[in-house]
Symmetry: none
Subunit: 417 residues, 2 copies
Amino acid sequence: MRAEIISIGDELLIGQIINTNASWMAAELNKTGIRVSRVTAIGDNAEDINYALKTACEQNNIVLLTGGLGPTKDDKTKKILAEYFDSDMVFHEPTFEHIKTLFKARNFDLSALNRKQAEIPGKCMPLPNTNGTAPGMWFEKNGKVIVSMPGVPFEMQPMIKDEVIPRLQKKYKLPFIYHKTIMTHGLPESKLAERISNLENSLPEHIKLAYLPQPGIVRLRLSATGPDRKALEEEVNNYCRKFLKVIPELIFGYDDTTLEEVAGQLLKDKNLSISTAESCTGGYLAHLITSIPGSSGYYKGSVISYANEIKINELGVSPTDLETYGAVSRQVVEQMASGVRKKLDTDYSLSVSGIAGPDGGTDEKPVGTVWIALAGPEDVQSKLFHFGEHRQRNIRRSALAALDMLRLELDKTKKTC
Amino acid sequence: MRAEIISIGDELLIGQIINTNASWMAAELNKTGIRVSRVTAIGDNAEDINYALKTACEQNNIVLLTGGLGPTKDDKTKKILAEYFDSDMVFHEPTFEHIKTLFKARNFDLSALNRKQAEIPGKCMPLPNTNGTAPGMWFEKNGKVIVSMPGVPFEMQPMIKDEVIPRLQKKYKLPFIYHKTIMTHGLPESKLAERISNLENSLPEHIKLAYLPQPGIVRLRLSATGPDRKALEEEVNNYCRKFLKVIPELIFGYDDTTLEEVAGQLLKDKNLSISTAESCTGGYLAHLITSIPGSSGYYKGSVISYANEIKINELGVSPTDLETYGAVSRQVVEQMASGVRKKLDTDYSLSVSGIAGPDGGTDEKPVGTVWIALAGPEDVQSKLFHFGEHRQRNIRRSALAALDMLRLELDKTKKTC
């Protein structure tokens, strides 16, 4: 079952608005087993709307349009739809009654434009709009379904959920699609692909694997299609367990969880506290940790020691070691971690010291060189990383690597899936 | 000059990713006078890519593709492009050298997959990818330009700015459009619109004003179209000076500068240092300050006092005041600022204490209540803010408000434009 989404609106073509409607609709359709084959965004323009409608109908069973409905004069969609379906415009009394009720509730006066909103192509079945004036319009032609909806998200969303999807499910016998995303940290896409290539090649035809990389993180998405929902879920989860066997240390969670969520949950579950000492990440590690609601339950605070004197005065780093090994060294980063753990009296502490760039690199320690330490009740571990040349990405990757060190320490048992 | 953007990636069709690439590109093209007529998102699928490419080329002068390039096997775009342009694949030595250099810097081993990334259709002109391995590919056919780029935003963006747009400007004679963006902080869109309504109404037909709001910041973009570049620039700059007269305290800069840049530059120019003490912003203020290269020249560090005991022990906040007035109070936030300024020995210091949410609000101090203080050589100022209900936005708006307090303090003379 192929569907196309057509998003209408000039604002989509000048970059003023991001097309969140289309991604929301795609996610909803996908869950129902309808595959979106294409998303097309076009302007409020008769020629482009006509062309998009024609090609979409040629290639898909279902075409969903949003936008181009509303009281203002730049809206041409309804007229185009009437022509496309060779239909007259008719005045739809229940829609007008609905508009009148809405306006009364808001104490607005009706205008001639509002009366016009109750005019719809005679060949469509109107869909009620609980949150607005413009009704949805359901057309059928040559066994295909074409639905036009308003572009305002809170009008479109209930229409999709309550009207469109139930009707589509009824009309077509839909295949089932199950997605599961494996979240990994620690290897770039190409290295990860090598590690899992045997497993990837063993996947059956009806289970697809997609690599979705971000700086520091690669998401592996398994998508399975089949007739039996339960069997499919079980099969995919079985493969997840196989992935966990092949790359146990790389997998930190499933389905778009974040490292800061996972690490925070582990601290919470084990009733442990943490503090941080940051140099090159400059507060970004603390920011990730505190972006999680409830983080005040386990996070006490941080000393950001951007200047070396702060490392000495506030974290107790040895001036001699700073001199001898430099601020970006195992010695200094371990002393930072121990220092902040003691000072803020927490169970664990993370510290980061590196060269974020663009300046400050040397031959021996180029930009992207980062030391990270984790101090705990028993010991202090530290690790050297070589990231890239970009300041913001080095900062983000350093903070993620620090969170992952904490996760690996706290989560020494294997996760099930 | 019509352009189409084709975004390739299954993740766009299941709602996992919002198509921010397309809106960013549309905005960039728009600024250059290129009208985007359509944005098409399709999957990693030969048939759909081929069809999209064919129809896009029929209707547009310029076709920009993103995505479908990368080392893993779900990428088919290059092969399809080679076939579409009736071209063999050739091994491109400079691209391979670039990949080798990137991998060497990161201490990774090259795989066969990486070598394959250096294979490109012979008929294309490769565009350098400063931030990744996959090169861009510039094709010309029947007077039309087709460019394929990676889908990773930080690889695609510099490619568009540094390679694609300059080449398009050269190839086509584009009408001249001059944009200038006025950056404001301190008033929401509707209030700002009231303040500048007279000035807005006085703008001539060929100069348009667009409001581009973000949490905490409203950008005002003036776009002028005309034949004479110099006269246009002068006219727009004249209007900028008029805006500066009407809203002098709200304008912090021009053309997508940031508050952290402006505040940092002021500290640098005046040879002053700063430290921070953060509670509810949890490191985000420090992160903004240290996201600027060279910030180590004026930023010494921070004490993130998420827990009250850290406010007392590390920042010298009075336990009695904490008890009496609460952590979110003028008394505490001023003591935090004074405490960190003294402890880290800086000229200025900023402190933030508030309720970011979703929990922790009371009737008296609802979520979004934030106190910010600025301590300097002469005094301590503090200010109470009421933001909204969303944690991440409250964190960001608090940090921006803090930076703006610093900017206003340091920049007491009027800026010219």
